[in-house]
């Protein structure tokens, strides 16, 4: 039986990946960092089918104990400090978890379980203000905030260990991916949830930094399939996973509000406080390599995704408020 270890299992990606791997008959072990009681809601449905082991990316000993004990077939490192603006408040923490956490995992794999395949959650943010558009696996990295710098450093670290110690270690450069389980601090979820609250008179307005900001947004359950595919290849390689299309914050507002029979213009207020200190240009990914080698392509389109998120938030708000 194949065993998989997922760090960040209570997060959006971790929980979808766990479900996918359970369907594929893996034994799924999740790292449970008791410091942050985040996202247990996301794994409620599968809680009895997975094993949660206490440990922390900051704690080498906890990682080496688990890796020695299980000799995992695959490790997916999805844990980390993932909200970019927070990385400005605590840049040292972002590095310690996101980059040194990877160094800890890779040294333990190298020394105690060298056959284990390793997936690192890289991010489109490593391109910063991209030097070329769309970006491919060979576009130079140019990160512009502590979160992105930590992700770029871990990207190179995976690459170094692959070459130096011949580990099956890969980075998936995933562009933004959203879902019903996205954290409320991210703009997509903030919009769908607030729109639903406005619909039910539980909120008055939606405050945003900018309407024109554009991103390459995909659907998280599609993206976790790509993670798994990357570990089923003959040789370890990095891949870009993206929709290849840009949409604006305004597009999200239009779809979400009109699905609820509202006009976003009546409810959205702009506030500079939410605009980022250096707003990056719009990165857009070219996933041709993944399409060709992994046979991967996104299945849920942008509009369908936003509507799914709105529908889910409707159910959630109804339940929470006994509507």
């Amino acid at each position: 039986m194949k065993t998989a270890f997922i760090t960040g299992i209570t997060g959006q990606d971790g929980s979808y990946l766990a479900s996918l791997l359970l369907k594929k008959n893996y034994q799924v072990v999740g790292l449970d960092s008791r410091k942050y009681s985040l996202g247990y809601e996301n794994i409620k449905a599968i809680k009895t089918k997975i094993i949660l082991e206490p440990g922390d990316l900051l704690d080498l000993k906890s990682l080496s104990n688990l890796i020695k004990k299980y000799q995992f077939t695959e490790i997916y490192n999805l844990g980390g400090l993932t909200f970019m603006p927070a990385s400005w408040k605590n840049p040292a923490m972002a590095l310690d978890i996101n980059t040194l956490g990877v160094a800890r995992l890779l040294t333990v794999i190298r020394d105690y379980s060298p056959k284990t395949k390793f997936y690192q959650a890289s991010s489109a943010k490593i391109f910063g203000l991209p030097k070329q558009s769309p970006q491919t696996e060979t576009t130079p990295l140019s990160p512009i905030d502590p979160y992105s710098v930590s992700k770029a450093a871990s990207h190179f670290l995976v690459n170094s260990f692959r070459l130096h110690d011949h580990l099956y270690a890969v980075s998936g450069i995933l562009y933004n991916h959203e879902s019903e389980r996205r954290g409320e601090e991210f703009v997509t979820r903030k919009i769908t949830l607030t729109a639903v609250k406005i619909k039910h008179k539980l909120a008055n307005e939606l405050v945003l930094g900018s309407l024109d900001s554009q991103q390459d947004w995909g659907y998280a359950p599609d993206y976790v399939k790509a993670m798994w595919l990357m570990l089923q290849q003959d040789k370890p390689e990095d891949f870009i996973i993206a929709s290849g299309q840009l949409h604006s914050v305004k597009d999200i507002c239009e779809i979400a509000f009109s699905h609820l029979g509202l006009d976003y213009k009546d409810h959205v207020k702009l506030d500079k406080q939410f605009s980022r200190q250096i707003e990056s240009k719009s990165p857009v990914g070219d996933a041709s390599k993944a399409k060709k080698i992994l046979g991967w392509k996104p299945e849920v389109d942008f509009k369908t995704m936003i509507i799914k998120m709105v529908e889910n938030d409707l159910q959630l708000i109804k339940k929470e408020n006994n509507l």
């Binding site: 160094a103 770029a152 690459n159 170094s160």
Partner: protein, 321 residues
């Protein structure tokens, strides 16, 4: 009143040369040192009475913040690091904690306690690793190939980030290899000159080396610390490549070092696989045109002169033992 400067890594090769250089320029020099069970003041023994050593550690945010707040330095040079590439493979996490995280801690301390201080970050040509173009300039994309190189890339980018986001005068000097009689014995250049001196004095028979064909752009450390200072005297903060623009192989180095004492290198050098670096970086060679133009900097000491200086210093030292 004289300017105040804080140097991390003051007991190292670059730190000690920089401290001497700044003392001559009438700076009041403070050095951050870690308490260790064996003192490591060899390189600063001549100036130890002229500088102030402060106890602190790059791993300890609190000590960094205190040092900056108390000294209120005009300039801060971050030269401390776990700087030996092979060690970064056995201790990648510790390397990251010193070499990458340490930079963030100092930048945070500067931002909070002395935001108008000028900050110098010691970046490295190891950031280019698998080189994306030759020669390398300030705009060449990075592709590090060791945990040391990765940590240095982090330090470089976080410095640029703090400059762009908080308007700090923070610069990164991308220095190619630079050697001197104060280079640590674990580095190949010093390993060679040290062995040459010992072979000359019949204390040793052979010299074991790894990859003889490895090529680097090697400069002389005292020339390079001047460039660090020049970078902080500019009107605006910018990054610079500091290099000689010439490449020489380990074989060239060995040949010239043995020649300096009239010996033939082939009679003494043996190959040993254990010193071969895996995932070896490509030929690194820097283009320092920007530094030449804007800082009016150029190397003064040639490759041959440097080797001669290093061999002679090792001979002196070995004779005195």
């Amino acid at each position: 009143m004289s300017k105040k400067v804080l140097i991390t890594g003051i007991t190292g090769q670059d730190g000690s040369y920089l401290a001497e250089f700044l003392l001559k320029k009438n700076y009041q020099v403070f050095g951050l040192t870690r308490r260790t069970s064996t003192s490591n003041y060899d390189r600063i023994k001549n100036i130890v009475d002229d500088i102030t050593l402060i106890s602190g550690d790059l791993l300890d945010q609190y000590s960094m913040a205190n040092a900056i707040a108390e000294i209120q330095p005009d300039e801060v040079y971050n030269l401390a690091a776990q700087s030996f590439v092979p060690t970064s493979w056995t201790q990648p996490v510790l390397t990251g904690e010193f070499t990458a995280l340490g930079v963030t801690r100092i930048l945070e301390a500067v931002k909070n306690a002395k935001p108008d201080a000028k900050f110098y970050q010691a970046s490295s040509s190891e950031m280019f690793g698998k080189v994306q173009e030759t020669p390398q300039t300030e705009t060449t994309p990075f592709y590090p190939r060791s945990p040391y190189g990765v940590a240095k890339v982090y330090g470089h980018w976080i410095t640029v980030n703090y400059r762009e986001s908080f308007n700090l005068f923070a610069v990164s000097g991308i220095l190619f290899n630079h050697e001197s009689p104060r280079r640590g014995l674990e580095f190949v250049t010093r390993k060679i000159t040290h062995a040459v001196a010992r072979i000359m004095l019949k204390k040793q028979d052979k010299l074991q080396l790894g990859n003889l064909e490895s090529k680097r752009d090697w400069g002389y450390a005292p020339d390079y610390v001047e460039a660090m200072w020049l970078m902080l005297q500019q009107d605006k903060p910018e990054d610079f490549v500091i290099a000689t623009g010439e490449t020489w192989s380990v074989k060239d180095f060995a040949k010239l070092a043995f020649q300096a004492v009239n010996l033939n290198w082939q009679d003494y050098v043996e190959l040993d696989q254990k010193f071969v670096r895996p995932a070896e970086v490509d030929v690194l060679v820097g283009n320092a045109s920007k530094a030449k133009k804007q800082l009016n900097w150029q190397p003064k000491t040639s490759f041959k002169e440097m080797i001669k200086i290093m061999v002679e210093a090792d001979l002196e030292r070995e004779k005195a033992l």
